[in-house]
């Protein structure tokens, strides 16, 4: 059974059809890359899959739950099993990198502060930012921000990791490093 199953997805904005009868299956353990021109609806599809928007018609099953019809509390449960890194990284500017990564752990677990610190360090080390935890997002380079966003997305050990244009705006070397990191994380 696919972990994500999209059937007959139709999305419209102000009468303009962005996604038309889209079908998609993603198996557990699979890495799926969506490629397409600017404005073709890649980010729109991701926003639908993570339940940020509701489609005009069609269904999206994530882990067996139809997120287009489920209740708000079921959607929240589903969100806990998904880690998302947005295109703009979307780190909270008022929090340093450590606190950004610690946020989901503080909110959704009852771990002691010392354990959270350890988990955060581990996640940051996995993305190569162990020495930059005290920095604030505005002090990071574009590539570091993306890696910090990946670390935050990984904080709760999600079953599904969604990355929206993880290497957009990065130079080829940093982009290749990030791609390698994603493959490494998949292996881990």
């Amino acid at each position: 059974m696919p972990i994500i199953s999209v059937r007959g997805l139709v999305v419209e904005y102000d009468g303009r059809r962005v996604l038309n009868e889209l079908n998609l299956d993603i198996e557990r353990g699979e890495t799926m890359v969506l490629l397409g021109g600017s404005g073709c609806g890649k980010s729109t599809l991701l926003r639908q899959i993570i339940g940020l928007e509701r489609p005009k018609s069609g269904s999206i099953h994530v882990n067996g739950t139809d997120i287009t019809r489920c209740s708000k509390s079921d959607l929240k449960k589903m969100h806990r099993s998904i880690g998302v890194a947005f295109q703009s990284a979307a780190l909270f500017n008022s929090l340093n990198v450590e606190d950004n990564v610690a946020l989901p752990l503080r909110e959704h677990t009852r771990l002691a502060d010392s354990v959270i610190e350890l988990v955060v360090w581990f996640k940051l080390a996995a993305v190569g930012l162990a020495d930059h935890g005290k920095l604030f997002p505005q002090e990071l380079s574009g590539g570091m921000k993306k890696r910090a966003a990946v670390a935050r997305a990984l904080a709760l050990g999600p079953e599904i990791l969604v990355l929206d244009e993880p290497s957009a705006g990065l130079d080829p070397i940093v982009a290749a490093e990030l791609d390698e990191l994603i493959l490494l994380l998949k292996g881990a």
Binding site: R47, I50, G51, L52, K76, K77, H79, R80, I82, V84, F86, Q87, S88, A90, L91, F92, N93, L103, P104, R106, E107, H108
Partner: protein, 267 residues
């Protein structure tokens, strides 16, 4: 003619939609606010609320104090110039004391907080919306209302009445200085006259007004932030809109309050 009706109808629906959104947001905030309370709520939310209290209250104290002192002087001087003609200079004390506790203290505070914090709320939340931070909260299974708005609202509910008290004290103090330098009224006698002029009900009603004003400022500021669409330019528009709408609504609410108290015979 049809166009006029269409336009009026459209605007009316827009305003009703806005008021409806404000109410829905307010109820959602009240429910979420339990998590921001100390001891029973989430300690990180309470810390955020305390930080907001410092920003809304402590950081605005010098500005509110200065505004109130200036207004107190103006009020006392204008009052003295008229009341002096009837030999009733002593009633300048009543004018300043009653005027500040019932009206000017809460109103001056609300205008200052609206300009400082209402706009800051709109800008902060608007920027979070543009940079996908609000979406990021949602996919982390966190409610933006609980995470962003509730601590701000709780802080406003505590900080605005406190600032109003500071404004009252500063305004009345300015009146005392004026009376001392103009007719050599001693501070002790001035304070006695102040306590004769106002009663506890005046202070309580002023504080109730402050709570309502704090609600309007926090809710309007945050709603304007949440309604940001598009790019950074819309953040600027929402900031301006937050100040204009909250100041307008504060003055309307003040007029309604004063009318209710007046016609129900309280004042």
């Amino acid at each position: 003619m049809q166009n006029v009706f269409e336009s009026v109808g459209e605007k009316t629906i827009e305003h009703l939609d806005y008021v409806g959104s404000l109410n829905i947001q307010w109820w959602a905030t009240l429910r979420a606010m339990l998590h921001s309370l100390p001891f029973v709520g989430n300690r990180y939310r309470w810390r955020a609320a305390v930080r907001q209290m410092l920003e809304i209250g402590v950081d605005a104290m010098s500005m509110v104090s200065l505004m109130s002192i200036c207004t107190g002087f103006i009020f006392a001087m204008q009052g003295a110039s008229e009341l002096g003609r009837f030999g009733a200079l002593r009633y300048v004390v009543d004018l300043v004391a009653v005027g500040f506790t019932r009206e000017l203290g809460p109103l001056m505070t609300a205008i200052a907080v609206s300009g400082r914090s209402g706009s800051a709320f709109a800008a902060e939340i608007g920027t979070m919306k543009v940079t996908e931070e609000i979406d990021s909260l949602r996919v982390m299974a966190l409610e933006p209302i609980e995470f962003v708005l509730a601590p701000k609202y709780l802080a406003a509910l505590i900080a605005v009445p406190c600032l109003s008290v500071v404004a009252n004290v500063c305004g009345i103090l300015a009146g005392a200085l004026f009376m001392f330098f103009s007719i050599r009224l001693t501070p002790v006698l001035y304070v006695r006259y102040v306590f004769e002029a106002i009663d506890l009900r005046d202070v309580v009603l002023g504080l109730i007004k402050s709570v309502v004003f704090g609600t309007i400022i926090a809710q309007v500021g945050c709603l304007e932030g949440f309604r940001v669409h598009g790019g950074p330019d819309s953040v600027g528009r929402s900031t301006t809109s937050a100040v204009v709408k909250s100041t307008f609504l504060v003055i309307v609410a003040d007029a309604i309050f004063t009318a209710i108290f007046y016609f129900t015979g309280k004042h």
